[in-house]
């Protein structure tokens, strides 16, 4: 079980209160009508599944119901940081994974 810090409730809560919503920072094609099928297909269906650091979107479903992001190590399950939607992560994936 994770104990996750909700950046809105400003407290650690049990994983039971949260719902994982997959990879974070997915950029929607700016002009969906004119993008290629490959671009649209990549956006809709293709997700990273890294061994190591991963940025994920989570929702505090049983609490404040807000979405926020988590930087998590998929090997050690360690949560490096949580940050609100719209904020930038402090942990740089490239630096941290090679460091």
């Amino acid at each position: 079980m994770f104990v996750i810090y909700c950046p809105y409730c400003e407290e650690h809560r049990e994983e039971e209160e949260f719902h994982a919503s997959g990879q974070a920072h997915l950029a929607r094609p700016l002009d969906p009508d004119n993008c290629t099928d490959k671009e649209w297909g990549d956006f809709l269906y293709f997700r990273k599944n890294p061994r190591g650091l991963h940025q994920e979107l989570w929702q505090h479903t049983a609490g404040c119901r807000k979405f926020f992001n988590i930087t998590r190590d998929t090997v050690s399950y360690k949560i490096l940081e949580t940050y609100k939607v719209g904020e930038s992560p402090k942990v740089n994936l490239e630096d941290a994974s090679h460091g």
Binding site: Y8, C9, E10, R13, E14, E16, E17, A62, G63, K66
Partner: protein
């Protein structure tokens, strides 16, 4: 748009014209635990035991929302009820003429206000009028929730087996409001005092939460009261 039209959901002809409800605008909403027959349960149990359970009569509940216009909502709430908008995980209570009003923090842009049921419509209108053209939202959800009170010397022990949240008095302090998972149901719980807690649960989960509380409290001895 300057004018806001709000319909009083309780003042419909279907309710007022029926003889059994009289001709008042007093809303008629049955208890969410009507089927449990509290009166018979209350008679069977003794008083002065470890845990006391009460289901409050249906209370007026208003969901208040504001993001950019949060100061306007705060000012409107202050002017209409003398109530401050609570900060993170907090609640503010005002008692006026024996009527209790409580605002609870739910999310950064959402609060839950409880008030006497018959005053909910008037309060909604007052806040809307005071807020003017600000971008706020108020939804009357009175019929959607019920309030269950848990008290007694072993109330905290019951809570410990029911929620994953840290309910030690040093962490779950008086006045704190927490949205969490109670067994498998979502509840808004508030600490009123040491060993005195309030649960606001969805009407459809009231039966589940009530039965859970009955079973979880059994080892300490329960008394069920009627409000």
């Amino acid at each position: 748009m300057d004018t806001v039209n709000v319909s009083n959901q309780y003042a419909t002809n279907s309710v007022t014209e029926r003889a059994e409800f009289g001709d008042s605008n007093t809303p008629v909403i049955a208890s969410a635990l009507e089927h449990a027959n509290m009166k018979s349960l209350a008679v069977k149990t003794a008083t002065g035991l470890g845990v006391t359970l009460v289901e409050l009569p249906v209370t007026g509940m208003l969901v208040l929302r504001a993001r950019d216009d949060k100061p306007a909502l705060a000012a409107a709430l202050k002017s209409s009820l003398q109530l401050d908008l609570p900060n993170v995980l907090a609640s503010n209570v005002v008692v006026d003429n024996g009527k209790s009003y409580c605002a609870r923090w739910i999310a950064p842009d959402e609060w839950l206000l409880s008030c006497p049921l018959q005053d909910a419509f008037e309060i909604e209108q007052n806040i809307r009028t005071a807020a003017g053209a600000s971008s706020i939202a108020i939804v009357n959800v009175s019929g959607g929730f019920t309030t269950i009170m848990l008290s007694g010397n072993n109330a905290n022990d019951v809570l410990k087996k029911s929620v994953t949240y840290d309910v030690h008095p040093s962490h779950f302090t008086v006045g704190k409001v927490v949205n969490t998972v109670f067994s498998k149901a979502q509840v808004t719980m508030r600490c009123l005092d040491t060993n005195h807690y309030e649960f606001i649960v969805r009407r459809s989960f009231a039966d589940y939460v009530w039965l859970w509380l009955q079973v979880a409290s059994a080892e300490y001895g329960i008394s069920i009261e009627i409000e």
